[in-house]
């Protein structure tokens, strides 16, 4: 028996695991203390809970607990990392290297840096969504202080070669920051093996609560420092002031612990379902996989169905299935996804894309239903698509003078 709606948008957010909620609940009521209250049991209890959660979080990424700075989420962590390094290392240089498919939290922060006198290189990704390592190395200058490349992309799920990126960075004495929001908890991420100096991630993408995230800041080889962006009581070793979100942090810790224990089994199960969904949907005529086939997260697939428009497509089943699209119509800007365009996709294919994000609670029945519904709707919309008719008649669509508006 299927329960509707089916949630296949786990790259946007995930539901809280009930075990996470159970762990959090006492910290709203009985154990409500401020972790900074050093002089009574309420504070001690809260501090102890935060310390424990910090260990759980650190363990998932192979870090030391002292290297975890809790924040309100990944956007804040991205800001703290980039702006914090830019300010802290100003005497060393002002150049940052990033890429053109980063999340807006990174791209817009880099834009801000440019206004502050920084210089930013935006590497173009290849058509598989990965950066060219030679281009990365060539972009490094004496003034380069930071390489900011995402671990995995949120729209297409491609996983960047972090080990190779950090090896290049080490060679030139440049710090590596990665926005690992989509990767942590889904695939093994180890800050030491991967050579990462700073890393942003968040609880709500890994079955934890919204409103809590973390920045990993390396303490040894090298010791990395960031300038605080929020001033106040000097919490989080002075790097992020503000009373700690104790229930959120407890939930984040629990979520990390569950991911660490269950990732291997979960990945096997989810990637099998993802592969089934992807294989079946790619059997639809004129459908195209976006992003690299091999180097990608186990739970994501992004497919363009040519000659149908993404939002129109979603409307066929969005009462029952929640997915997202790179179509312009889903955004206020009317511009299709900049990530898909960066892969060299024409606007027409970018408009025709759907992203499917599977998760911990996704079942095979749900995937079977999704395959059936998506296929059916694509066919229905193609029957009313003038472009499909032209394609079937062999008309070259580039030969038509479209009225661009």
């Amino acid at each position: 028996m299927l329960n509707f709606p089916i949630y296949l948008d786990h790259n946007a957010t995930t539901p809280c695991d009930p075990r996470v909620v159970d762990a959090m609940v006492p910290y709203f009521t009985n154990n409500f203390g401020n972790a900074a209250s050093r002089n009574h049991p309420f504070g001690w209890q809260a501090e102890e809970a935060v310390d424990y959660a910090r260990e759980q979080v650190a363990k998932l990424i192979g870090a030391d607990p002292k290297e975890i700075i809790f924040t309100s989420g990944a956007t804040e962590a991205d800001n703290l990392a980039i702006k914090g390094v830019f300010e802290m290392y100003a005497s060393k240089g002002n150049h940052i290297i990033t890429c053109n498919i980063e999340h807006k939290a990174v791209l817009d922060t880099c834009k801000h840096i440019e206004k502050e006198g920084g210089e930013v290189t935006y590497l173009k990704v290849k058509d598989n969504g990965l950066i060219d390592l030679n281009e990365l190395e060539a972009a490094i200058k004496p003034t380069t202080i930071l390489i900011a490349i995402m671990y995995a992309n949120n729209e297409i799920g491609t996983v960047m070669p972090m080990k190779e990126i950090s090896a290049i960075a080490k060679k030139h004495g440049v710090l590596v920051f990665t926005d690992a929001v989509q990767a942590v908890g889904k695939i093994p991420v180890d800050v030491n093996k991967d050579g990462i100096d700073l890393m942003a991630f968040t609880a709500h993408k890994m079955y934890g609560p919204k409103g809590v995230g973390a920045l990993y800041v390396r303490r040894k080889n090298p010791r990395v420092k960031v300038t605080a962006q929020i001033d106040g009581g000097g919490h989080e070793r002075g790097m992020r002031s503000g009373t700690l979100n104790v229930p959120g942090i407890v939930g984040f810790g629990k979520a990390c612990e569950i991911c660490l224990n269950e990732m291997e089994e979960e990945t096997k199960r989810i990637s099998k379902l993802r592969d089934k969904l992807q294989t079946e949907l790619l059997k639809v005529e004129e459908s195209y996989l976006n992003g690299d086939k091999e180097h990608k997260l186990p739970h994501v697939t992004n497919i363009s169905f040519k000659y149908v428009e993404g939002e129109g497509l979603m409307m066929g089943f969005n009462k029952n299935i929640a997915v997202s699209s790179g179509s312009a119509c889903t955004s206020a800007s009317l511009e299709p996804s900049y990530v898909l365009k960066a892969l060299g996709l024409g606007d027409d294919l970018a408009h025709s894309s759907l992203r499917f994000g599977l998760g911990r609670f996704t079942t095979e029945d749900q995937i079977d239903y999704t395959i059936e519904q998506v296929t059916k709707t694509v066919n229905k919309l193609r029957d009313m698509s003038p472009l499909w008719e032209m394609y079937k008649e062999g008309i070259d669509m580039n030969s038509i003078e479209w009225a661009h508006h």
Binding site: E309, E311, G312, C329, D347, L387, W402, H404, H405
Partner: protein, 139 residues
């Protein structure tokens, strides 16, 4: 964003999907929009040559639900109107009928443009001068 019931109804049960023979002299075809913009509408009218009344209208649309609904509604309204009356269909009446939100007004503009393009195609085929229109404000 949620859709109005009327948009959903046209999307689920589109009226007059199809193709008319564009080579016939009494058929006018309008093709507007562009694939890169995420919407393309093709609207066709078939005119009764003795009465000048539109006896059939068909559409095919590549686009979002609002674009499909706008063109479906346009074909409904076109049938039974004279060619001249067809020109009076205004995009804002489509907006009102379908309760389109501001971000979807361009869908209705596209439908109006498609009607005008179809009428002009019919006029030119029948030796009449194409009517000039102010540039629609789109996107």
């Amino acid at each position: 964003m949620s859709y109005s019931e009327k948009v959903i109804d046209h999307y689920q049960n589109p009226k007059n999907v199809g193709t008319l023979d564009k080579t016939k002299s009494n058929v006018g075809t309008g093709l507007v929009g562009a694939p890169e913009c995420g919407d393309v509408m093709r609207l066709q009218i078939e005119v009764d040559e003795t009465t000048g009344v539109i006896k059939d209208a068909k559409f095919k649309t590549f686009g979002c639900g609002s674009a499909i609904a706008s063109s479906s509604l346009a074909t409904e309204w076109l049938k039974g109107k004279s060619v001249d009356e067809a020109m009076t269909i205004d995009n804002m009446t489509i907006v009102e009928e379908l309760n389109l939100p501001p971000v979807k007004i361009h869908c209705s503009v596209l439908a109006e443009d498609a009607i005008k393009a179809a009428v002009n195609d019919y006029r030119v085929k029948n030796g009449l001068p194409a009517l000039k229109f102010d540039e629609s404000v789109v996107h």
